[in-house]
Symmetry: C2
Subunit: 140 residues, 2 copies
């Protein structure tokens, strides 16, 4: 069992250790992704260890481009010990699908752009093959 060390820090400290901007932390609180922070006497937000963990979790999910709304549901599942992690599996799988589809699309796009980029040997706009190509329907 880990000792529950009682760290306490202000928002910019939390921002530094989690690598999430203060502004973003407040935003997450606004939209209910983070619980309302404890406030000390002067009204400043105070944070502890749990907040670090929660924020790191969120940041990791964001790095995987998981939308905030889905992170919300992940957190709900996470804190409920009797829920199955099928939902988590599904969400990650779905995210993977999305990323793969995007890669496929962008790869086609890369082809098109490359073809286009190498299509114009001229330097006057009147003769520009790029512009001419862009004026026509896709030859797909």
């Amino acid at each position: 069992m880990k000792a529950q060390s009682k760290v306490s820090m202000k928002i910019s400290q939390l921002a530094k250790v989690t690598n999430v901007a203060s502004k973003t932390i407040r935003y997450y609180e606004d939209i209910g992704l983070l619980p309302a922070a404890y406030r000390n006497d002067n009204g400043y937000r105070e944070y502890g260890n749990n907040d670090i963990e929660r924020l790191v979790f969120i940041r990791r999910c964001r790095e995987l481009q998981i939308p905030l709304e889905q992170i919300k549901t992940l957190i709900v599942v996470q804190v409920d010990p009797k829920s199955s992690c099928q939902e988590v599996d599904a969400l990650i799988e779905q995210q993977l699908d999305k990323v793969r589809k995007t890669i496929a699309e962008l790869t086609l796009l890369e082809q098109t752009l490359h073809t286009l980029a190498t299509s114009c040997p001229n330097d006057k706009v009147g003769d520009c093959q790029i512009l001419k190509n862009l004026q026509q329907e896709k030859p797909s």
Copy 2:
């Protein structure tokens, strides 16, 4: 010399032939990407051949994910016959760069997601490897 056939159509017709939503066409006019359309007696917008070409050009650029602001500059270059097409070249090249960078990023992301997706053989949240992984810093 091409005959300047005098077609005339309303916005939904233009939308159909160019495959750009009426709403989007109005939006393009609002932001100055399209010139203010001619209005007939009842105040409806009327369009001709030039508008088709211009819109197809814009759509093609959008398919290449070129931002509207850059399309604006492309159009300026396009209509000025004495400008060089270096700017066009550069823009396409730049777009290609961006796409390639995004592909690279997404490919890494795909790896991470794939590893994550196959990391959890359990079905209770308490043991879920996916969640555990997400709670930690990236092991990069």
